[in-house]
Amino acid sequence: MTTMNVDSRGTACPGPITDLIRAYKKAQNGDMIVLVANDPGVVPDSKAWCERTKNVFVGSKNIEDYFEITIQVTGKRA
C-alpha cells in the first residue's frame, strides 16, 4: 500500500479534483491519497467523487487555511 500526497493548494475548482484524479490514475486499490487544498468546495466535491467512483472518503480535516482529505482507493477495476 502506498500513500500518495497531492498538494493542490492555490488551485481553484475544479483544480483539486483534477489533481486528485491525476494521482488516482497512477494508484492501485488499497493505496491512500492525501489531498491538501484550500478551495472551499473541495470537501463536498471529493465526497461526491468518491461516491461516484466507489472509492472511500476516509475523512477530512481543516488545518489552518486548508483542508486535508484522505481517500482510500477501492474503485479501480481489475
Partner: protein, 138 residues
C-alpha cells in the same frame, strides 16, 4: 447519476459565462462524462481562430465586480476557459460544435474556426445527438 452525458449550449460570450464553461467542461472530463458543446450567438466569435485572444467582454452592469473577479482569477491562477477546453478536447470525451445558422449568417467556414471546433452542425444534429443528455444552457 446519469451516464448518458451532458450537453452545454453556450450562447452568450461574456467573460463570466466563459469561465463557467471552462469549469463545467473540465469537471465533465474529470467525471468521465461525455460532453457536447454547441456554440452559438455572441459566443461564436470567441471560437473563431484566435477569437479567445481578444479583449474579454464583461456583462453589462457589473464593471467593478468583473474587475475584482478578474483580479481574483489571476491570483488563484485560473488557467483560462480556452486552455481548459483545449485540454479537455485533447483528453477526449468532449466535442465542440459551431452553430450552422450563425456560421452561415457570418459567412464563416470550418477553416475560420478554432481547431477545437469539431464541426459546424445544425440544431437538428445537436438535438438528436444530445437527446438523451442533460442539457445546460449558458
Amino acid at each position: 447519476m446519469s451516464e448518458k452525458g451532458l450537453a452545454i449550449v453556450i450562447s452568450t460570450g461574456t467573460e463570466e459565462k466563459m469561465v463557467m464553461l471552462g469549469v463545467l467542461t473540465q469537471t465533465a472530463v474529470n467525471l468521465g462524462m461525455p460532453l457536447r458543446i454547441f456554440v452559438t450567438g455572441t459566443a461564436l466569435k470567441l471560437f473563431l481562430k484566435d477569437g479567445y485572444r481578444k479583449e474579454p467582454v464583461s456583462p453589462e452592469g457589473f464593471p467593478e465586480f468583473m474587475k475584482e473577479l478578474r483580479a481574483g482569477l489571476a491570483r488563484i491562477k485560473f488557467e483560462g476557459w480556452h486552455q481548459l477546453l483545449k485540454d479537455s478536447v485533447q483528453e477526449g470525451g468532449v466535442k465542440v460544435y459551431a452553430c450552422s445558422l450563425m456560421a452561415s449568417a457570418l459567412n464563416k467556414h470550418k477553416e475560420d474556426f478554432d481547431p477545437m471546433i469539431e464541426d459546424i452542425v445544425g440544431a437538428t444534429n445537436f438535438m438528436i445527438q444530445s437527446a438523451e443528455s442533460q442539457i445546460i444552457v449558458l
